[in-house]
Amino acid sequence: MTDNLDDLDYLDGNAAAGPLSEFFAIDVVSARGRCASCGRIDALATARLYPNSHGLLLRCPGCAEILMRLVDTGDSVCLDLHGLSFIELRRG
């Protein structure tokens, strides 16, 4: 059901850098992550960011499943990472 990748109403993952900077000391969209659903490993910048939503959603460019969800309620901001099995940072 989520294999329809024809839609164009998303941004590239780099647009998530600002909101995610509250959580990560490094520029996390340049890190690589593994999709917990299909196993694809790629830079988070290649993920698809759906704007105008109830929260910020990053979806896998391979299978369209959700990698990250960020919900900002004003009083708190919650980052759900269960769609990523790891994030890998390269040093230097």
Partner: protein
């Protein structure tokens, strides 16, 4: 958010008693996209109600359209603070769909094509409070707005009105759906501003 938006949009709650607190009017119909829009043909569409015993009540598109159709006009309120008054829908009342369903459960989970879920108590779906809507403003519901059919529960925040709905699952206990598990309110009454936990 309340302070800025009521001043900015000008038409706040004070001059319209139909507006819940913290809401402003919109003339458009904003689309909140959470993912790729599912494209479901009438041939593959079906709607199911699954009870706690595993019994599945199933309607094809043709069977669904053969049921009694209601034309309803309701105000809708999105948690992102826009409201739209007097929206026109055509669809099948959940009262009609539940006529043949036997269940002791008080809670439901709505499931959508594309994987979205949202929880709604059964009481909030019955007694003329909710529909499976397939027309908006006299036209077939567009995929961007949840077509072929969406749940319409206008007295709760609009994220409860699941787009691309494909079924209801009866639950003995309330469980969080897609947004409810990440901070959104389990019930979502706009008049009590139940936006978040």
């Amino acid at each position: 958010m309340g302070i800025v938006s009521s001043g900015f949009f000008g038409r706040g709650r004070r001059d319209d008693p139909a507006l819940p607190p913290g809401q402003h009017l919109t003339d458009g119909f904003p689309v909140l996209s959470a993912g790729p829009t599912p494209r479901i043909t009438p041939e593959e569409w079906e709607f199911t109600i699954t009870t706690e015993t595993g019994q599945v009540h199933r309607w094809s598109w043709t069977e669904f359209l053969a049921l009694q159709q209601d034309d309803v006009s309701r105000d809708i309120h999105c948690v992102t603070s826009w409201s739209k008054l007097g929206t026109s829908w055509r669809g099948v009342s959940l009262d009609t769909l539940f006529e043949s369903v036997e269940s002791d459960c008080e809670f439901t989970m709505a499931h959508s094509y594309g994987g979205y879920t949202t929880n709604v108590p059964l009481d909030d779906l019955l007694d003329g409070k909710a529909w499976i809507a397939h027309e908006f403003d006299g036209e077939a519901l567009e995929p961007a707005h949840g077509g072929p059919a969406r749940l319409l529960v206008p007295h709760l925040y609009f994220w409860k009105s699941a787009k691309w709905v494909r079924g209801l699952e009866m639950l003995r206990q309330d469980e969080p759906g897609f947004w409810e598990s990440n901070g959104y309110h389990m019930y979502g009454d706009p008049w009590r501003e139940e936006r978040y936990w």
